[in-house]
Structures are given as C-alpha cells and as structure tokens.
C-alpha cells in the first residue's frame, strides 16, 4: 500500500503542515482504502517545510518540499493517481535524486536515523527500525559494568556542550552506594537558536527513553526524570505517548524483559529559566525550588536529586546510547576524529540558504557545513561569522571557516562546541549588536546567586548598550575585557563562567567594529538604530508614494510626483521604505 507521510515536527506545523495533512487526508478518503496518510517528525530540511513524502509499496521514498494545499492536490493527482512523481517539486528521493539532495549527501544520520522516517507516536515504527534492540542486548548479555565499559570505549562525550566523557560520568554515579539513585535527561534546551533536542524528542522519543533505561541499568538507578522545556508542548506530548507505549511493551516498569531490573520514568516540565540547563539548578527545579545552582562538590554523582547519587545527561547524548550498545563501541569509534568519536547534531539557522537539522561526523569543517550542506548565505552576501554555542559560545569569523568541528579546535577559537546551535551571519550583521544581544540574554537569565554573574554581566550589558547607542567611550573595550576575565574566573556556574564568550570573541575578531561605534559613532551594517537615520534623496525620488503607503508608522510625507520626506521623530527605522523603493531613493546613514 502506498503511504503519504507529512512532516509534523514543530517547524512543519508552523509552516502549515496540518492544513496540508487535512487536504491529503480528504483526498485519500475519497480515493478509498488504497493508501494511508501518516505523519512523522522532523526530516531535518526545515527550509523546505511543509514537506510531504510518498512511500511506495517497495519502500521507495519521494519527498516533496514547500507543499501548500494546492501543491498537495497536484502531488496527489500526479503521483498517487497518475503514477508519476511531480518532478519539479521533488526535493529528495531515497535513491539520491531530487534537487535538494546535496543537503543530505555529507551527513551521517546516527542519532537522527529514525527522525523523519517513523511515526513518532508509533512504537512499532520505532521497533521496526531497531529501537530497544540495544536495551535487550544490555539486559540480556551485559552486566552494568560492561555497559559502562562499552560507553567508555565508544568515547562519547556529553553533547550538551561541556563535552565530559559520558562513560566516566556513569562510572562515578555507579561507584556510590545508595538505597535510591536517579538518572535525569536534561531536555531544558534553552540556548536561543538551537532546536536539536526538540527535534529528537519530537521525531524519535524512544531513542531517548532507551538511553535512559540503559543508563539507569548501568549506574543502578531505578527512577528516571526527563526535565523538558514547557515551551516544547509537542515534544512533551509525544514523550508521554512514548512512555505509555514503552510501559505497555514491558520496556519500562517492573522486571523489564525478565531481567529483574525495574525502571520508571517521570516527565518534569520546566517553567522557563535558562539556568536550569545547569545540572545542579535543574535538580533544584525538580525538587520544587528556585533553579539556582549549587556549589560543587559534592557533585550530583555523589549527592544529587533529593540528596541521592544522580546522573544527568543531555537528550542527544542519551539518543546515542541505544545505537552504541546495539552496534558496538567499535562502530561508534570509527566515526569522528582521533580525539572525539561519533557524530554531532547541529541546528543550522540564521542567514543560511538551507537551514535545518544537520548531523555530521565530528571532524568536518565549519565551511563544509555552512557551504556544502547549508548552501551558503541566503542573501548571497559574503559570510561574516558563524555563531556556535549560543550564549556560552562565540562568533567564529569567516577566515576561520576551515576550523575542524571538534571540542578542542573550537575551544581554541574562543567559541565552544556547545549543544549545537550554529547561526550564520552575513555582512549585514553587526557584531557589537550580537554581543549585546547575548549579554542581554544571559543577564536576564542570571539567577542572582553569585555577585560576579549578577552584577558583572549587568555592568557589561550597560557598557555594550552605551556603545551601540553611540555613547561609548575610549577604554570601554578594555573594561569589557577586564570584567570578562573576572566573571570567567569567579562565577559559580557554567552560565556565568561562559557568559563573556560572545563579547570576547567579537572583540578578538571584530575589534574594528567596536572602535567604529566608539570613536566614529558609526554602525557600518546599519543595525544599531541609535546610530542611523533614513533619508530620501532629492535627485532620485519620483514621488511614487509607495514608501509612504508602506510605512507602518506614517512617518513619510509627500504628494504624488513630489519629493517625499521622512519625519525623523516618528521613524522607527524599520527599513521598509528602503526595501520597497524601486528607485534607490531611500538611503540609510
């Protein structure tokens, strides 16, 4: 039977996937029981949403992009009824065809192998692609110590950002005796510009559940928690369904697969606090308190949740575990570099032509990801920088695009591997503004427990705001650097210690932009609104009135066929007039 499958991750739904599904469902109902209409999670090609796949009886896949309701009807008539694919709309096929095949060519899908291929609400689909095979192997044939050894040999490092070896973390937690231990999945993906964990949870929740059960078995924890962002309602709903299904199949609960091992899983919804991504803050939050980090030691492996030995892993880390046990540490270690094994998932976004979810073997260069997979900048303008690691990371300039994506080489640039946010910026982005943006974020998310973070980031933000408003003074950059080093050394937790990174990297690579703001009161990219104003050129304006009509705040005056002018005190500097003028009469200075 032919299948029509609609991509309904958050991106797919946001782009209108549900309407497309309704249209196709309606057509399929009329056609009779010759085909099914199903759904899947994120296929990774978010830039092509909404996406529709037609899978034939032999399992051959044809994927269409940018499908609206009209296009869905066309696909139905051509491909389902007529039997020939609608060639111009095909983006990828399972035999490597389609005009967007280049997006997938260089990727290695290990964590994402089932994402976009299965119905995330069907455990049978997941099992059909080897979900829980690793769990069975671990419980049937391995001792907890052997599981830890396998993960150690695989060499996987934490994918949440810091890169601590997962096997070692498990070994520590396993080493403490207690009447109760816990394993926790950190799904509090708070980095702005990152959506890896959301996509995994939405597309293949069983991979994370399997990882947690295996981890629980390894360290001796019988209870697990998934701490998920409340902003991810679809992920939470699918996780709940997946947990119920896993319980019904005996993968969760008492005496799992007759092994004698018990394990139960609870979802905790976060309530909106970036700092809860820090593991001790996350523990405080599960306990019902303000999410403020604890002083370490004792580390969670010794005294964590409710004072018991606990282990906390990120979503992507856990999604690797089932694969590692199933395929063996050797297969995993065959991917990656000398120092770091496996793959890494990135959320490629910003001013890139092909934005989406990308999984690559560690060791690829940034250039390969941005150019070969991402297709370069969407504007066609030169790439200026790539921001990696979100508020804890940094801006890597165009000249360092050949940097290898691995923990150490990235750390040397001043950025970090991070959890996987990769934001592309072109020549139109102001680097001082980007630094201010991230500082504003970390400052508002600072929990207030330690002085260096609470007050230090505030002072840094004030300085950056002055600079972007044209009130910067000589010595500001040095003051920023001084404060940055103080905060990095003295803040209590990772949020504070890494908060200065976006500022330090932009100073390191784009010092001239800081100087231009401070000395010349100029923002060459016209992003800092206090430093720019729009004008209409007398020689060029023909009085077509389009700018006046489009101005959202009625700031443009002028009669037909007469020179127009902008009322500066009303103008919000949104730039619409410039973008609609066909005569290049609007200028920004």
């Amino acid at each position: 039977m032919k299948q029509i499958i609609i991509g309904l991750g958050s991106c797919g739904i946001a782009a209108g996937g549900l309407k497309v599904k309704d249209t196709l469902q309606h057509l399929a109902d009329q056609a009779g029981p010759t085909l099914t209409v199903g759904e899947t999670g994120c296929m990774g090609m978010c830039y092509c949403e909404p996406m529709v796949e037609v899978r034939d009886e032999a399992g051959n896949r044809t994927i269409y992009g940018h499908v609206d309701e009209a296009r869905a009807e066309e696909i139905f008539r051509h491909h389902i009824q007529g039997g020939t694919p609608l060639a111009e709309a095909v983006i990828v096929t399972s035999d490597g065809g389609g005009h967007e095949a280049g997006f997938l060519e260089k990727q290695v899908r290990l964590v994402l192998e089932r994402c976009g291929a299965i119905d995330p609400e069907s455990i049978d689909d997941a099992i059909g692609m080897e979900a829980y095979v690793g769990l069975e192997k671990a419980l049937d044939t391995m001792t907890p110590a052997q599981v830890i050894d396998e993960v150690l040999t695989a060499g996987i490092k934490g994918r949440g950002g810091a890169g601590f070896p997962t096997g070692l973390k498990w070994k520590f937690a396993a080493g403490y005796e207690a009447d109760q231990k816990y394993i926790i999945c950190n799904a509090d993906e708070g980095d702005p510009g990152a959506f890896m964990d959301r996509s995994i949870l939405e597309g293949d929740p069983h991979s994370v559940i399997e990882g947690l059960i295996i981890g629980g078995y390894a360290i001796g924890a019988t209870k697990g928690y998934i701490y998920a962002r409340a902003e991810y309602p679809i992920a939470i709903r699918r996780l709940k369904i997946a947990i119920e299904q896993a319980e019904a199949r005996g993968f969760l609960g008492k005496n799992i697969l007759d092994s004698g091992f018990d394990f139960s899983l609870t979802i905790k919804e976060g309530a909106g606090a970036f700092v809860c991504g820090e593991e001790t803050a996350l523990i405080e939050s599960i306990e019902g308190n303000r999410g403020m980090p604890r002083i370490r030691p004792p580390f969670p492996a010794e005294k964590g949740l409710f004072g018991k030995p606990s282990n906390i892993n990120n979503v992507e880390t856990l999604a690797n575990i089932g694969w590692i046990i199933r395929r063996g540490a050797g297969a995993f270690a065959a991917l990656g570099t000398e120092e770091s094994n496996g793959t890494k998932v990135f959320a490629l976004a910003g001013k890139v032509r092909r934005g989406g979810l990308v999984e690559i073997p560690i060791g690829m260069t940034i250039r390969e990801v941005v150019d070969t997979i991402g297709g370069g900048t969407v504007s066609g303008k030169p790439l200026k920088a790539v921001q990696m690691g979100g508020p804890s990371g940094g801006c890597i300039p165009a000249e360092l695009m050949d940097t290898v994506i691995d923990y150490q080489p990235l750390a040397e640039t001043g950025a970090i591997m991070g959890s996987g946010g990769m934001i592309v910026m072109d020549a139109d982005n102001c680097m001082v503004d980007i630094a201010r943006y991230f500082l504003q974020f970390t400052q508002s998310e600072s929990c207030g427990k330690c002085t260096f973070c609470k007050i230090g980031t505030k002072r840094m933000l004030e300085t950056l705001e002055r600079i972007t408003q044209g009130e910067g003074a000589e010595g500001d950059v040095e003051r920023l650097e001084h404060l940055s080093h103080q905060i990095k050394t003295n803040a209590l937790c990772g949020l504070g210690q890494t908060a200065p990174n976006p500022v330090l990297t932009t100073i390191r690579y784009f010092r001239n932009e800081y100087d231009n703001h401070i000395r010349n009161k100029k923002c060459t990219t016209s992003q800092c609104k206090a430093l720019i104003h729009y004008d209409i050129l007398a020689g060029k304006c023909i009085g077509c009135t389009i700018c006046a009509k489009k101005c959202p705040v009625d700031a443009i005056r002028g009669k037909v066929k007469e020179l127009h002018s902008i009322e500066q005190d009303k103008c919000t500097k949104c730039g619409i007039c410039k973008s609609v003028c066909k005569f290049d009469a609007v200028v920004v200075e």
């Binding site: 958050s10 991106c11 739904i13 946001a14 782009a15 978010c46 830039y47 949403e49 993906e189 708070g190 980095d191 702005p192 510009g193 990152a194 959506f195 959301r198 409340a230 902003e231 991810y232 905790k268 919804e269 976060g270 309530a271 909106g272 606090a273 970036f274 939050s285 599960i286 306990e287 019902g288 308190n289 303000r290 999410g291 409710f306 959320a347 490629l348 976004a349 910003g350 001013k351 934005g355 989406g356 921001q387 979100g390 946010g421 934001i423 910026m425 982005n429 980007i434 943006y437 991230f438 974020f441 998310e445 929990c447 489009k550 959202p552 705040v553 919000t572 949104c574 730039g575 619409i576």
Partner: protein
Amino acid sequence: MCQNCAQTSKYWDPFEAILTNWAGDRSQLIPLLQQLQDAYGYLPEDVIARLSQRTGIFVSSIMGVATFYSQFRLEPVGKHVVKICFGTACHVIGAENIADAICHELGITLGGTTEDRQFTVESVACIGCCSLAPVIMIDDETHGRLTPETARAVIRDVRAKEA
C-alpha cells in the same frame, strides 16, 4: 483578584480539583502552580494564599518560585497571548522590526496588554523554529517567515475573527 468570582463557590472548584493531587511533596510545587495558572489564567493573590495554607509552604517560598520562572504570571493576561521570538536566528533576521510592528498595530509596548484585554504581547527567548525565522506564537499557533507587514496581517486576522 476578581471579586465577583471570589464570592461564588465555583471560583474555588478548579483549585480544589487540582489540590486533590497534593501528596505533601515539595517537588509538586511547580506542577501545582502550572496547573493553577492553566485554570486561572495567572496566579491570583488569593490562590497563592490558599495554596500556602493548604500545603504549609510559606507564601514567601511560593512567591520565590513564582517570580523566578518566566512562565508564571502574577497579573491577568489578554485573551490572546502573542509571543514574539527573540532567539538568535530571529534576532539576526529582524525580530525587533516584527516586535515594533506588532506593538504599533496593537498600540501597546512589549509585555503590555491591550485595553480591551484581547491581546498581551510578550517576548520569548526561543520557540525553536529557527529555520522559519522570524517567528511569533499566538496562543498555541506558530507563524513563521514573517515580515513586519505579514505580522500585522496575522494580528488583524485574529482581531477580525473576534469581531
């Protein structure tokens, strides 16, 4: 606090239903507050006071938690909550212009509620739909690939449906 509602016993029905789950475990506080906010739209003072009486958790502790997490509101909100995404991808593509357009359209500032209590406009750190940037969320529906003009149109659509 809504005085009219408070006088009727119905006002406390959702509260009582939610509190039947209370098992004396402090780690339930955040889920309880989430459920109460779902039921009341925000966390009214009298609800917090009664929660404290029933659970034995000090009002100061409850307020500490309620003010720490951005999800909790201590003021009522409009019928529709417009969340403007200020994630990195949205920021570099022009979230600020979207926010300006929406706020101008509704005649309020970020964080405010319209006089007719139809709309509240909030900023949110990241919705996670970065490849559709710039993005906003109205109630539970996400709108992506916006321009200032289409953002205004989305607001007008919601308004037209209410009229």
